[in-house]
């Protein structure tokens, strides 16, 4: 993928330790990166930790960027990997893998209201909360692909570049993930 001369220049300066160049480099992708981490980990504190850890890794290993993908794609890949690492370490997912016993598990979870966006609270509170709850109940690999495709809107090709797999694999993962999420959604509604 082509990378602009401007970005190349920023990368070169950042490799030499210029923090301002690094901040300019990440300006366009940090918002989306945070959004990915937030949806992945479910709360602001963990998402901020993951994001900072990701950018520190990127800063320290900028010399390893091989220009085979766009810089933003590389960032998102590292963020996804960092989130996966954090989940493995904390094993929080184990607490949320239990299927509903009829109670609304979302209200029992740790996500405070302050972590929901205003529109989620006021307009689509029940629906958004319900779908987020269902999302927490599918395997992390399936949640990951739905975050990238259905929430963040990456194309199949972009997802393939982020996750380093071909489009065929992306298709089959999306298919399985959507089927699984639908099963949970329908079951939760009963």
């Amino acid at each position: 993928m082509a990378i602009s001369a401007y970005e190349q220049g920023l990368i070169k300066q950042a490799v030499l330790g210029d923090e301002a160049s690094f901040e300019a480099l990440i300006f366009s992708c940090k918002g989306k990166a945070y959004s990915i981490a937030f949806r992945y980990l479910g709360n602001k504190e963990d998402a901020l930790d993951a994001l900072q850890e990701s950018f520190i890794k990127i800063y320290r290993h900028l010399g390893k960027f091989n220009f085979e993908s766009s810089f933003d794609t590389w960032v998102y890949r590292i963020v996804v990997n960092t989130c996966n690492d954090m989940l493995k370490k904390s094993k929080k997912r184990l607490e949320t893998f239990e299927f509903s016993n009829g109670k609304d598990q979302f209200t029992q979870k740790e996500i405070p209201d302050s972590d929901l966006l205003p529109e989620e609270r006021l307009i689509h509170k029940e629906e958004s909360a319900h779908i987020l709850n269902c999302l927490e109940k599918i395997p992390i690999e399936q949640k990951e692909i739905l975050i990238l495709r259905d929430i963040q809107g990456f194309s199949y090709e972009e997802i393939g570049a982020i996750l380093k797999c071909n489009t065929g694999t992306v298709k089959s993962r999306i298919s399985r993930a959507r089927q699984r999420l639908r099963e949970v959604y329908v079951m939760e509604q009963k």
Partner: protein, 219 residues
């Protein structure tokens, strides 16, 4: 049920294709099969509607705005990554220096048939009248070499060493030494250990060249 070249899909097969209908990612022929099936199958039609509903709900989960404090915190953290290199890396470099110099000392000891005269203790700030045992005498040349050969520490070299750490994560390797050929070019020699089978250990000496932020293996 419309048949295409004699092929007819049942509900189970149609449901397999439905998730990709959401993004219009089916082949044209598959898409037509699904659409034709849905004309006469309410159950599958409802299933597709639920897929579209769920995809819509996920899409409506807006981007979460980046908290304002993030930029300042990241800046602070980036700045904290650049302490005086010596202070940050004294453990690593003194350990590397010790390995390097113990090696030199061992060679020197092997080649030297006569015990080297103990240098004046004043050089190390020790009392001149201190009586030294054979062990203490043996330590002095090493201490002297450690002091004399304290490596020059800079950020660029440290970056290359960190790259090596990342590259050889999970593997056993040892930095044997390095040279600085010019202000921008470093040569770093490492030895990588690989376990062959159950007992044999293979060691491979590799040299890396670091230049302009890029680390390359050299032949």
């Amino acid at each position: 049920m419309v048949q295409l070249e004699g092929k007819k899909m049942n509900c189970s097969e149609i449901r397999e294709l439905m998730p990709l209908m959401v993004d219009d990612m089916l082949e044209q022929e598959q898409k037509e099969m699904v659409e034709n099936h849905l004309l006469t199958c309410d159950a599958c039609k409802q299933e597709l509607e639920s897929h579209l509903l769920i995809a819509g709900l996920l899409k409506e989960l807006a981007d979460v705005p980046l908290p304002e404090e993030f930029d300042a915190n990241l800046r602070k953290k980036l700045q904290s990554l650049k302490p005086p290199a010596k202070k940050r890396n004294w453990i690593r470099y003194s350990t590397l220096a010790a390995i390097f110099l113990v090696g030199i000392f061992s060679i020197a000891l092997y080649n030297d048939t006569n015990t080297a005269p103990v240098p004046p203790t004043e050089e190390f700030g020790m009392a001149a009248t201190t009586m030294m045992t054979a062990d203490q005498e043996a330590e002095n040349p090493t201490q002297r070499m450690l002091k004399m050969a304290e490596p020059e520490v800079d950020e660029e070299l440290n970056q290359y060493l960190e790259l090596l750490e990342e590259m050889y994560k999970g593997k056993t390797y040892q930095v044997i030494g390095w040279t600085k050929e010019s202000p921008q070019i470093y040569r770093i020699n490492i030895e990588v250990e690989t376990i062959m089978g159950t007992e044999a250990i293979s060691k491979e000496a590799i040299t890396y060249k670091g230049q302009d932020g890029v680390l390359c293996r050299t032949e």
